[in-house]
Symmetry: C2
Subunit: 461 residues, 2 copies
């Protein structure tokens, strides 16, 4: 029974992946120009899945699908679609379809939709909105990219602080519009400053006569519209916020951010970290063309080439040494490789700890010390292992000694570089993940080759 | 004005980091045994921040703080604290304090708290719960680790499908307990199968006479208790869920998962990916001791050592070649390094695309082809660059030709390894991030050295 369960547990891994057979069927229907069949197949899908499907098919196939199904597209599909191909999709759509699609969206989704578009496409979308929505979107756009002001939606449910539960419910019942999703009623003073909030659960479970102020939450955080969205996402995750009011410079309520948007920022931030650590342009997507991909990756490979040439320069300094003992050429990449690996380990832990605010002034010295000790311990362990291997392999105890010492030196340097480089980048106001990998392996290559070949020159020759 | 704003935008980067001065003050108060001052300083802090503080101080300092402030600790602090030191903190607390702290928590937090504890500590906590809470927690624990059944909270707000808005509100007002946070009322049939849900916003804005079934959401997803939590987190992010009902094998409602828990799973999954890619134990934390850290990292370094020795073995095959032309020893790390870098780029993009379900059967061939083309284009670009550098450096056009050809070969192989290895691991049911980095660089080292030195042997000597 337990095994059966475990097996089921295994199999469910595949959940939520877009079914390849379904995609094939859609493509077949599109190819045969069967508009009705395409519509029927897409009808039950969630907007996010339709967006994924449009991303996964080729440009040619996408155009075929849009030709047959394009007027059914809704705003949600557009806002779910990856930026890279969103522009292409939008340019395929008739103006009236686009206008209808956009009018359904909350202001934050419209902002997200248009901020990366070209001017004419932006204008077309703004023109489709009614006066007040347009003003809301345009005001959001005055805040910097990746700020809370861009992330927030302008549609907010507020109540004066002196209202009762009954008054609030009556107001909500009369309201002509309400956001699709809202989780709190924000209490505001006469100057429209948020001063607290009430969860809908409490509103529903309190008697009509209860004053809102009595059931307001204890903890209450506002977010500045100027704050970076990465910090907003962190705050939501750290404090388990569900929604948070956004305020302008005068602490007046200008919008609200909900957790689903914060969650997708968290996801994007992570993508950025992992891609930056690998030296891939952080906007890279699976839908990019060959040319776009080359353009993103080539600059980082070029930086790597320069650092690799630098490391070669170190080897060149010892050409004479290698000439006299070619075993050195065989062994030298091991020292460099172990250093690179150990440095990357430390670097990754440090970058992650900085992102989660777990590495702070309070513990930085303890962490640096720990990394150095770990480097020393691992260094000695692998010095011993590799020393013996080299000794047996080349029958020279001295050679074993040289590689052992070089290993200890390089693994300590790797630890140092792995922690100091991201800390330094952070101090300089740069992203600690940015190109750190390349810097760290430069250090470990240079130190590795220099220590090993230099020691060999002194001890062996 | 704009500049002033930009500056403020910059400065706010520091937000939400625990203030180092405050931590210093707390430590000072603890050292001087001033219990009142410690309490006053900690009072305004959010539980998550107190947990962070306890993680960032040394073991000695932590014990001092807990001695003075321990009886104030609440369940939320315990559930926020990192697993690594949670056990230590719990063992410092008197039994009655622990019992009080745990009783405040929702069942999902209790499960999260005890699942990694040793048996006796688990028992102590379970004993503190009343009968029904204990049963709820124990039932959650029957589901596998990292499953939806562990993540869900058992406290669910339900209503029979035939109720009206008025009946539901009256029920909520009379209810003796309600979860701290809830966002939906789940409609159930007489067999306790969930059949839809109503958002609290709709409940509040509809008239009392409205039937719940009329205002139920169109889209409705249930989650199997056996599903992996990583997939749950994906579903929340993909479909913008706020909460989702969890069902057992008979589709009966057993609990509910809320987005804040899904968000922290998403964050944990990211951590796992990034650490695994770097060959760091995925449980690694900034609070680990030197010994724990060594134990996590050493096995991966050992794997790397074996692959490095393998690469050295390839070089050893060409000892004679290198002896006759020592420039080869100088240049060979460049080919390997460029391959390693390019392979890591492809690998990272592939691992990420698999995690976000953007790489599927529908587009896998297109992506593989793209990566190979990118490898070829980058290979040719750097073949040209490095060919010229080698030619000038060593004054030998032939040597430039050799490194150029080796570069193209290795960058294409890097692309192939970078995409095929994670795909293969995924097919085998393993995590594509796991150790992929080491496998990929093994391929690029071996191919790099073999191609460069082999070609040199054929063309130059």
């Amino acid at each position: 029974m337990a095994e059966e369960r475990a097996e089921e547990f295994e199999r469910e891994e595949d959940d939520y992946r877009l079914d390849a057979d379904l995609v094939d069927e859609i493509l077949e229907a599109a190819e045969q120009d069967e508009a009705e069949r395409v519509k029927t197949l897409l009808e039950p899908l969630h907007a996010a899945d339709i967006a994924d499907m449009l991303e996964q098919v080729s440009g040619h196939e996408r155009r075929a699908i849009l030709r047959l199904w394009g007027d059914e597209i809704d705003g949600e599909v557009l806002s779910e679609i990856d930026e890279g191909i969103r522009e292409k999709v939008i340019s395929e759509l008739p103006a009236d379809v686009l206008a209808d699609a956009v009018r359904e969206l909350d202001s934050d989704d419209v902002v997200d939709l248009i901020e990366d578009l070209e001017e004419p496409q932006q204008e077309a979308i703004l023109d489709a909105l009614d006066e007040s929505d347009r003003a809301a979107v345009e005001q959001s756009l005055t805040y910097p990219e990746y700020s809370a002001g861009r992330l927030m939606q302008r549609e907010v449910v507020t109540a004066p602080e002196h209202w009762s539960v009954g008054e609030t419910i009556d107001f909500l019942r009369r309201a002509e519009w309400l956001p699709d999703q809202f989780y709190h009623v924000i209490l505001v003073d006469p100057g429209h400053h948020p001063i607290g909030y009430v969860t809908l659960g409490r509103l529903l479970s309190a008697t009509r006569a209860t004053a809102l102020s009595e059931i307001a939450e204890d903890s209450f955080r506002t977010i500045s519209a100027w704050q970076e969205e990465a910090d907003v996402a962190y705050a939501f995750n750290q404090y388990h916020l569900i929604s948070a009011p956004v305020v302008d410079d005068h602490d007046r309520l200008v919008g609200v951010i909900t957790i689903d948007d914060a969650m997708s920022v968290l996801d994007d931030e992570h993508e950025e970290d992992i891609l930056r650590l690998a030296g891939v342009g952080d906007e890279s997507a699976i839908t990019d063309t060959v040319l776009e991909t080359v353009r993103q990756r080539l600059p980082w490979l070029f930086v790597n080439l320069l650092t690799a040439i630098l490391a070669s320069g170190v080897i060149a300094m010892f050409e004479g040494t290698i000439e006299r003992l070619v075993a050195l050429a065989v062994l030298m990449p091991i020292v460099a490789s172990m250093g690179g690996n150990a440095g990357t380990q430390t670097l990754t832990v440090a970058v992650r700890a900085l992102a989660t605010r777990d590495l702070t002034e309070s513990n930085v010295w303890r962490v640096v010390r720990r990394e150095l000790l770990v480097g020393a311990v691992n260094g000695m362990a692998f010095a011993l292992a590799m020393g013996i291997v080299a000794w047996i392999w080349f029958g020279a105890a001295n050679l074993g000694l040289v590689i052992a010492i070089a290993m200890v030196i390089n693994l300590i340097m790797a630890a140092l570089a792995g922690i100091v480089i991201p800390l330094g980048l952070e101090k300089l106001g740069a992203d600690p993940a940015l190109a750190s990998g390349t810097f760290v392996t430069t250090v470990t290559d240079v130190v590795g080759f220099f220590a090993f070949l230099g020691l060999a020159g002194m001890i062996l020759l």
